[in-house]
């Protein structure tokens, strides 16, 4: 395995993007990433596009070919990666492997999703069908908030986690989202506003849920040979990737207080990267719902199992706390265009590790120059954990 560096990142504005189709939305991210890496499409040997909703959430069935053509990468090796909400990480991993294995010296990962071209109940249906349609959706009509709400009910019962603790995750992530020009939500919220917002799937309320967003992010990966050729010094390195999965049927899970795929993927990533949870300066964790961030703290080893609520109450996951988590606003406030999220996490970590976070108030002070991205697909159906460092 060769060393692989991230030499360029770009991210579109997240939000309701009815001004662009999937090709133009991707272009917005790819252009920034190419400028950042000082390359153009002709240099790219392999492109992996992460998108979960092709043909289901938006009109293009083969987004990879559409994106490759529109962004000047036709001719590169090409694939689309699907890992539900972790599709962006699956694309990043695929591009990473192409470089790490020595097959190519320059690869690109693009994560993209268009989620606002259909009516909201239809989008809720398409996401609710993700899991095991035949045995879970067909008869009972679960939504994505409902799946995570099941976990929230069990976590609250077992560990005494309160609705107020969940609300604090939304308060924190909206605060940082309000400082991130790319975030879907630019507003702050209070605990009272979160608690008073309409119930979506009890105990999750509107402000416990990430929005339905459009967005794209792009990442350029290079070998050491390519770094010398491009005269790149002091890049951000991929220190390690871990991965795992969980059963399609939620009824086949051992418990509902954490995601085993997160535990397994993070252990693998820590081992490969030779770091421990306490070494991480900044983390992007998968907070599609507030309970998901609390479970991530525990599953990733930022605190003991059951103490996620305490960690957020004590402010330990704010900038200046033990570990800064989701200071780009997270999925909760930055938005969660599902296929884009994995690459958008890498974008944020690279900016943070270079000390280039916009705005300056949300730049994390760096001690070990280690960042971690935790990207879940489905409800722990897929998981990728990526460790970056400088």
């Amino acid at each position: 395995m060769r060393k692989v560096a991230v030499i360029g990142v770009g991210c579109s504005k997240f939000g309701v993007r009815r001004d662009v189709n999937v090709a133009r939305l991707s272009f917005e991210a790819v252009k920034k990433a190419f400028e950042d890496a000082n390359i153009n499409g002709k240099n790219v040997e392999f492109l992996a596009v992460g998108s979960a909703g092709a043909g289901g959430l938006y009109e293009e069935v083969l987004p990879a070919v559409v994106v490759a053509e529109y962004c000047g990468m036709t001719g590169a090796g090409l694939t689309r990666c699907e890992a539900a909400c972790a599709s962006g990480s699956a694309a990043f991993f695929t591009a990473y492997m192409a470089v790490a294995n020595g097959l190519v010296d320059l690869a690109v990962a693009v994560g993209v999703e268009k989620m606002t071209e259909l009516e909201t109940p239809v989008v809720m249906e398409m996401l609710g069908r993700a899991g095991y349609y035949l045995w879970e959706f067909h008869g009972f009509g679960p939504t994505f908030p409902a799946y995570y709400a099941l976990y929230a009910s069990a976590h609250m019962e077992k560990f005494g986690t309160r609705e107020e603790d969940l609300a604090l995750v939304a308060v924190k992530n909206h605060k940082y989202g309000s400082l991130n020009p790319l975030a879907h939500f630019q507003n702050r919220v209070s605990v009272d506003e979160v608690l008073a917002s309409p119930v979506i799937a009890w105990p999750l309320k509107l402000y416990d849920c990430c929005p339905i967003s459009d967005g794209a992010a792009a990442v350029v990966l290079a070998s050491e040979d390519k770094l010398r050729e491009l005269k790149v010094e002091d890049p951000v390195w991929v220190r390690g990737v871990g991965f795992s999965s969980g059963t399609a049927n939620l009824s086949r899970r051992g418990d509902y207080v954490g995601l085993k795929a997160s535990v397994l993927a993070s252990r693998m990533a820590y081992r490969v990267a030779r770091v421990e949870p306490r070494d991480v300066d900044v983390a992007c964790v998968h907070d599609c719902f507030t309970i998901a961030e609390i479970m991530a703290y525990e599953d990733l080893g930022f605190c003991k199992k059951g103490e996620g609520g305490k960690l957020i109450r004590e402010g330990e996951t704010e900038i200046g706390g033990r570990i800064a988590v989701n200071v780009d606003g997270g999925l909760k406030a930055k938005g969660h265009p599902i296929g884009a999220t994995g690459c958008a996490m890498i974008y944020e970590l690279v900016k943070q590790l270079r000390g280039e976070a916009e705005k300056r108030e949300r730049q994390v002070p760096l001690k070990n120059y280690v960042g971690l991205a935790h990207n879940i697909g489905g409800v722990g159906h897929y998981c990728y954990v990526t460790v970056l460092g400088r």
């Binding site: 009815r18 239809v122 009509g141 099941l150 069990a154 019962e157 979506i200 999750l204 049927n249 009824s251």
Partner: protein, 142 residues
Amino acid sequence: MGIGLPFLNSKPLTLTFKIPINGFSRFFEELKNGRVMATKCRGCGKLYFPPVAECGECFSSGMDWVELDGEGEVEAFTHVVVRPESFKRNPPYTLVVARLKEGVKVFAKLSNVDLAEVRVGMKVKLKTKIVGDEAIYEFTPV
């Protein structure tokens, strides 16, 4: 961003998948008879719900059908208020995962219950019901 900007409607398309249930169609037949069935692997003894025709543990294709007693305890629950497109005409519903005496867990709707009564640890029982031309299973409180 961009609300009010020009757009083109795609060609509308209604998809109805014909999902093969060969190999476990007995499950749906027995539901009509009021029974909820699981399958048990003849090779390794593992009990499966939802039922399977092949065992992913030992790769045996020999399965015995076993009727579930249906009594169990809620492990997780939620009240779904915002419904997806094909359930939008239903009133809000409660979904649970319950662990049955037999050891398997079942994901299903919990009916005939006061919302305030629902909690983790609650005793429930599986029942079958005919809705339109489909037989379904759901939990009710014990």
